[in-house]
Amino acid sequence: MTRPPDGPSPLLDMRDIQKRFAGIPALVDASLCVRSGEVHALIGQNGAGKSTLIKVLTGYHRKDAGQVLFEGKPFEVHSPHHAQVNGISTIYQEINLVPLRSVTENICLGREKRHYGLLDWNAMHAEAEGLLSRFSIGIDVRRPLGELNTATQQMVAIARAIGFSARLVVMDEPTSSLDEREVGVLFSVIRQLKAEGISVIFVSHKLDELYEVCDQVTIMRDGRTVRSAAMEEIGKLELVAAMLGRDVAAVEGHATAFGERDRSGIGNVMFSARGLRAGQAVRDVSFDLRRGEIAGFAGLLGSGRTETARLVFGADRANAGEMTMEGAAYNPERPADAIVAGMGFCTEDRKSEGIVPEMTVAENLTLALLPKISRNGVLDEQRQREIVERFIRELGIKCSGPNQKVRELSGGNQQKVLLARWLAMNPKLLILDEPTRGIDVGAKGEIQRLIRGLADQGLGVLMISSELEEIIEGADRIFVLRDGISVTELEAEAANEEKVLTAMAHGTSASSEAAT
């Protein structure tokens, strides 16, 4: 593991941090070293351990093993408050201040100035104004915080951190809800902090931002620190490859169960989207899906893959853009509209958006089908049983029977129940968001084979996956999304890991490392 060169002793040095939750390791061997006046990027995929490491640092979690040195001394943190008074402040993407109280009250919360036991408002207003003016932000500090826009609220949060004489400010995805101009303001504040010798840990998924504002980067994967380097020494492609754990040079054989696919059965375009746009997450996404085709969405976290899928399914509404389904204009207002148009959507978040845990396998499986298996509002239990037993058999769902509670099933079997929920509808287009996340290897292969079989039968499949091999080996056509924009389209024959990674890193598959 690379350590930054020895200069002045680092402000923060976290070594070999370990942390388990209920026996499951979240941090195996995590290290983080931040020097004074440095802006340090901390990156990694979902579940890499970034947030756990941050929470160990800020006192939300107690570490199981390892050492933390802060300002050269061993530092045992007891609570977030303890971290804060010792100079470590955290700014979350969801601002956790008190929206109804004034800017001053928020900045001074927890260390109010007193004058003979009474609150000294004049001194506090003056301090708040002073702190904000350091970043050239002129706002009325008497206004309630909630009336300000998100970016300004973030500045207030930063000012509050400085007010606690922070030496280290942790920013957890601070730009996720900001527009470009606001991001610019935030960056100038970060540079100001740096100039004053305050260090910043910057967690973000937007690569361009890292290169714009950070000096050093630490990359985590599977609870380990895999690389730490100066920002200018590491290219975007290398960065993405390290995050995903891919060796850019060597690509192994088949890692999935999709197998070779005969693409002659792929038909005409069934669904197309042009210029989809919604908020900050989806900015310009266009793609086509053919009958019998598996289209893969690749992209880093926050690239807008799931958000795009939700727009297609009507779970969220697009601000702009056009969609057509089977040649006709398609503009869903709610999921029910998408279902009528012949779509199904297996969500990425099985627990909170997929299964109804208290219900049985049968009830979960027929949830979308209910209108079709009821007559005059009364459920046809005979038909329900036939359908449920058929899918339990066909998909090999392991359960004690249709009446077992779905929450008692393994993740893979729950996923099969959700797939069956949509297959029972006889859909034309199936959106699968991370279809094999969090399920064991055996079930994973089964589901991959199943997806392929569906496409062979003429179903259009839109598959989102964070696993590169799943996209490359499974998809017939790959769309790479980056910062909410569909940047590249690759045919399966032409796609390889390097091209996809390059597109995820740079935005086009053609550009070279030198472009950065």
């Binding site: 399914f313 779970a315 709610r334 999921p335 029910a336 998408a338 279902i339 959507f345 969500t347 909170s352 958006e353 997929g354 299964i355 109804v356 845990p357 208290e358 219900m359 009830e363 949830l367 979308a368 209910l370 209108p371 009821s374 509002g377 009364v378 459920l379 239990e381 037993e389 339990i392 058999r393 090999g396 769902i397 392991k398 359960c399 004690s400 029977g401 077992q404 008692e408 393994s410 929920r421």
Partner: protein, 334 residues
Amino acid sequence: MTELPRSYADRDVVARSFDLLGFLSRYGTVIALVLLVAFNLAFTRNFATMQTLNVNLTQVCTIVIVAVGMTLVIATGGIDLSVGSLMAISGALAPMIFMGKILPIGNIYLGVAAAMLVSVLVAGLLGLFNGWLVARFRIQPIVATLVLFIAGRGIAQVMTNGNLQTFRVPEFQWIGLARPLDIPAQVIIMAVIVAAAAWALKKTLFGRCILAVGGNEKASELAGIAVSKIKIAVYGISGLCAGLAGLIVIAINSSSDANLVGLGMELDAIAAVAVGGTLLSGGKATIIGSLLGALTIQLVRYTLLANGVPDAAALIVKAGIIALAVWLQQQHRG
């Protein structure tokens, strides 16, 4: 016997050891009820009489009817605090109609029919208003229904100028006093409502949707269920049940006092639902459970009173039972 699908054979289901808390939370209400009946048979004089049965049943009827609507609301993850006030409104409105205070209606049967229909429907519409607040504006149910909890009784008092309305109209009062086949009319009404709701919850599309919405709202929305409509409907039904219960109360009393009709009913109904085993967080509900819950609470009170324990002490026992029931539920979930 059809051949079992093969996957049943290689079941990898965890063998379940006997789980006492789980057993109690599932059958606790029935066990409590049986124990109470056994205790009373042994120690309470004149317990095994039709009269005792009728007294208990007539007292519990209105709670059960309101609890049916409440069960459906709670099944969606909501709660309805306005039921007592809606009872007061329907109880205030009905006499005004059949006594001709609003519109003189010559035929008494016509007047009574209009009174029943209009006052129950008004309560139902106010229930829809609750649902509209919850579904359209995403106001927390406890806050949304607090609006009518407070305003509803006020409306009833304004309608009647705060006056007690007394009447003797047998054509109307049959719903509280008649005894076809020696069974009190309201017991028959209660039985019909309980049976209909229990059937609807188990066997109909609507019932399945209610449980799905309460069990996982996001998943239901993504499965194409019209979540808002379901929510509005259950509050509407709760309003209808409350309206009907209001009529029964005033029929029994031969009078309507807007200050008193349905007072505290929301808590009795919620208690019955909770003791009956319906999850207060939604997604799992039992109408029969709510009926048993209401009967248990009623029987505890009766047992204590019949054995000389004052009503105030009975309240404490009632609270204890509710706490126990909710605790058992939590054990079972965790």
